[in-house]
Each structure stands twice: as structure tokens, then as C-alpha cells.
Amino acid sequence: MEDLSLHLLDIIENATAAGATLVEIGVFQDSAENELSIKVRDNGRGMERDMLAKVRDPFTTTRTTRRVGLGIPLLEQACHEAQGHLNILSEPGQGTEVTAVFRVNHIDCKPLADIGLTLVTLIAGNPDVDFRYESNIDGEKIIVDTREIKTELDGVDITDPEVLALIRNLFQKRRVNSSRHTAGGRINGEIED
């Protein structure tokens, strides 16, 4: 897996495969503290204790199509390569929370890369699942909540290309000053802080 945005896509596919209707994603980077953490929490079916104990082993999968599961072992490997660690909490019937921690300045830390494309890919491929994404990359914050977007769209498909383009645009590096305006309201406005 080339970069962390692809690992993120992969780990969230586990959540949607587990029947999650809501996936909450947090990406927090503090370069001064040499830390990057990626957290994915879902309300899917969760894992039993013995499953949870062996899920880091590539020979563990509940797939029927093949006998190995690679997503979690590969993510854990990426964490270890960057002197980080992987934490998994899960409760049957409640959901699962996966937290991947990296030393972001480590030479072997994979880049985050295109998180925006990962998010629109998830939304386009799973329009019935809700995603709440929040990131703070060295002070630059982004929030996307598909529940709010769907309410505002009032029946228009969230996979509409114009909507997906708006979401992706949030992830483009901001033009200096030109978006520096304030608007009231909850989903309102690109507010620079």
C-alpha cells in the first residue's frame, strides 16, 4: 500500500463490510510533537474477543472468498515502520475503533497523500453509510459530515458529481486570503482560523 490515505480507505472498507451505518474518522497531525494519528470508529457488528486477539495475524479473516486478511496486518506494519503502533478496540454489537499512530517525521512514515480522494471514493461507493471526517493537520482543520450534507441536499443524491467535487475541493490547499471570509451558521463558510 503506497500511502496512508489508501490504508485509511482499506480500514474503512472493513467497517462498511461489518455493516456500519456511521463511520467517524479522525486524522490529527502535530509535526512539532512528531505525531500523526488516524482513528476510525464504526458502529458495525464489532468483533468477539477471540477474533480481536488474532486479527493482526494475516491468516485471520472472515472472508469466504480467500483465506487471508491483509488489511490490518499491513496497517500495523506501516505503523511499526514509523515507530508507531496500532490499537484496536471492539465490542460485539457495538462497533470497532482502530487507531493507528505514527512518528510523522520518521523517514519510513508513509505520506498521508490524497485523503480527499479516499473520502469521496468512500462516499460514492457507500452512499447509504454516513461518514464524519475531521482532521487537524498542523493546525489546518477540515470537517465533513455526510449527515449534514444529506439534510441540506434534501433528497438530491450525495454522489452527484458537483457535490463530490465540493468535498474534494475542501482538501485542496487553500488560496491565500481569498477564502478569508466569515459566514454565520453551522455548515456555513470556509472560516479560516
Binding site: E13, T64, T65, G125, E140, E148, V156, L166, N188, G189
Partner: protein, 127 residues
């Protein structure tokens, strides 16, 4: 803080008012991209992006895109399945951007499957 602007969403909602929501069953074609770990590592996200872009550029309004798990043919990823109304579903393997664009043009839009990229019939196994 970057968030979607409410007025942008409202503008889209107004411009789409009265058009049918495809997901409610009136689509002509459905494209499913397989997104297991093997698929993602082999480039499935690029395939999704190519399809999302093609749908946007062509202003296609009768095709839905979706993703599913691993199809069990990991060595032939990236893969997608194209289901056009009244035609049998076709699985395409070893995809890249160019093949995907061609399949979109000829099969999804044109209704003519691209045999050279299709999974050969009968070779399908589940593991």
C-alpha cells in the same frame, strides 16, 4: 476551518430539483468497483476516480457507481463489474485508467461489452 458551504449545497439542490434520484432504482447501468485490500493496493481507488470523473464530464445521469468487497480474484485486481440493463453482467480485470475509460465509453454508455478486458467466462473461482 474548512467545511462545505451551505449555499453551495442549496444551489446544487435547486438545480437538481425534479430530477430523479437514481439510487431509487431507475438507473440504466451500475458499475461496481471491488475494494478489498488487494483491489485497493492494485489501484481500485484510481478506477473509482476515473469513473467518477467520466460520469461528471459526460453529465451521465443514468449510471450508478458503487463499491464492494474483494471478489476473490486478488491476482487479477483491480476489477469492476458492469451491469447494463437487459445485458448480462461482465467482470473486468487488470484494469487501469485507459481500459476503464474505454469500458465506460463502449459498454456503460454504448451498451457493447469490451471482450478483450473481460474476465474469460468459466475461469471464475471463489478463492
Amino acid at each position: 476551518m474548512a467545511k462545505l458551504k451551505i449555499e453551495d449545497l442549496r444551489r446544487i439542490k435547486e438545480s437538481k430539483k425534479g430530477t430523479l434520484n437514481l439510487r431509487e432504482g431507475v438507473y440504466r447501468a451500475k458499475v461496481t468497483v471491488h475494494m478489498g485490500t488487494c483491489g485497493i493496493a492494485a489501484g481500485a481507488r484510481t478506477i473509482m476516480n476515473t469513473l467518477m470523473t467520466a460520469i461528471g464530464e459526460n453529465k451521465t445521469d443514468d449510471v450508478i457507481l458503487t463499491s464492494s468487497g474483494c471478489a476473490g480474484l486478488c491476482s487479477q485486481e483491480p476489477m469492476m463489474t458492469v451491469e447494463v440493463k437487459d445485458l448480462s453482467p461482465v467482470k473486468y480485470v487488470y484494469l487501469d485508467e485507459e481500459k476503464t475509460k474505454k469500458i465506460f465509453r463502449e459498454h456503460v454508455i454504448g451498451g457493447k461489452p469490451v471482450a478483450e478486458y473481460a474476465l474469460s467466462m468459466g475461469s471464475e473461482t471463489t478463492y
